[in-house]
Amino acid sequence: MGKTFARPESMSLAVTHYCPGCTHGIIHRLVAEVIDELGICGRTVGIAPVGCAVLAYNYFTFDFQEAAHGRAPAMATGIKRVRPDLTVFTYQGDGDLASIGMGEIIHAANRGEKFTTIFVNNAVYGMTGGQMAPTTMPGQRTTTSPFGRNVDDVGMPIKVAELLAALQTPAYIVRQAVLKPKYIVKAKKAIKRAFQYQLDRKCFSLVEIISTCPTNWGVNPVEAITWAEEKMLPYYKLGEYKTPEDV
């Protein structure tokens, strides 16, 4: 009897630098499993962001590029335009994608660039130490919103999936979570479908993944999951926002 659970070939042996209770490791694994299942490790290029996942390239076994803050969609565009045969994905956090890189992601999505974006939304800047993100929840305390996010002052959290789904160009836009196994199963399906659309050269695809940051939220991992379910999921509703079959 063979192994029923093993390390995906697309994942390296490196031990991750992520904090206890962080969900990046789960998401990395889902991406690696999908790439293995699709058999595309040898023609995949990943693009790491600036943020907690800046070192993501250490945890995969295929080619990787490292972007500047927010610019991964432009780099992915460059690769896909000159090498449409490669499978390209960006892996971006909420500060990277929804703040400094908002211009790049909107235009890449609107051009219908045939790459995949894994967008990790944990409502905070992680690597720089817990500052407010565009996705930080109303009233949520961060180091730069010490009295809680004041929406009169800095606006409401940006719903990236809804915002990108409003573009007229066909795309696959979906939001899932990795808080519990029931969510993880759906998240993996969404990631696989996103890559499949890319392989079919069909459309731009983005999977927003609701995630946790126990360290910067100042709670333990279990409390973090509860908080995300209670505070984030009612605002960031899970589901498909757009498929290329729509329109």
């Binding site: 080619d63 780099m75 460059g78």
Partner: protein, 349 residues
Amino acid sequence: MSKVLMKGNEAIGEAAIRSGCLNYFAYPITPQSEVAEYLARRMPEVGGVFLQGESEVAVSYMIFGAAAAGARVFTTSSSPGISLMSEGISYMAGAQCPAVFVNIMRGGPGLGGILPSQADYFQATKSLGHGDFRLLVMAPASVQEAVEMMMDAFPLAEKYRNPVMILGDGLIGQMMEPVEFPDSKKTEPLNNDAWATSGLDTRKSDTRNLVKSLFLDPEALNNNNLLLKSKYEQMKREEVRFEAYNTDSAYNVLIVSYGTMSRVCRTAIDSMKADGIEVGMIRPQTLFPFPEDQIRAAADVTHCSVVASIEMSMGQMIEDIERSVQGKKPVKWFGKCGGDVPTPEEVVA
């Protein structure tokens, strides 16, 4: 091959294609938008890639992504646009990616103007972006030279795995002159299997490639910077280009000037020669590496009493000239930076 009359901007676009580069990303800005307009029609004819990005910032990363994937790629812009691209160019230098950036300069600072200028000398040769890096910078003085430098730029970028800049002023882009595209300058990209993220299957390798400029370990970062430095030292040894004019005369004044400005100087030298006054000129064709030894040698002859930096900027190149001359002769500056190109008559005066 017969000559064709082309605008500098269009000739630059065509030269890239003729040298074997079929990938172009850009954002429009005066006075070089004709490159994008030309290539929007031309690239589809040759099966190449043309994409108008959403900003110069994004374009610099499209270039980075494409170059890191192993493609020959270039962009064109003008001064304010180059400032925006400087971020991506710094990343590319750190990650050792080749590409060609063309700056058809306009006046600054800020929005400045749209007329010819050489105000980005410091930016191109000293501090284009953050971090410890250099570009190989070539400065054409005619449309034909712009073509030839473009065609040379790609193999040079690949030789050094470093961005190369073509630094022209607005006139180089806007002027029409006869050009020919030497077939001999068409090149094949160097093999980049050792570093490009071209896909494991593409290069039939088990070793993945990683293109990055992040080195958190101080020793690793220091080593990367030492490696970059060694490349810049090699450029200084191997890539200096210059042209000497009237330096076999007993000149009293030695002019150093580049680009369009150097052509104005050439006319001024001719007219002074007719009046019995001998003036020599060194025209740097590469601004980095700078022809330091050649300028020092030309200044260090007994009949030369003064060296003049003549530039369409407020005294930028003069610092490199002073460094080259090493105090052996006084160095003076003459220039204009509002968009008017100084006339030969003004240079003579």
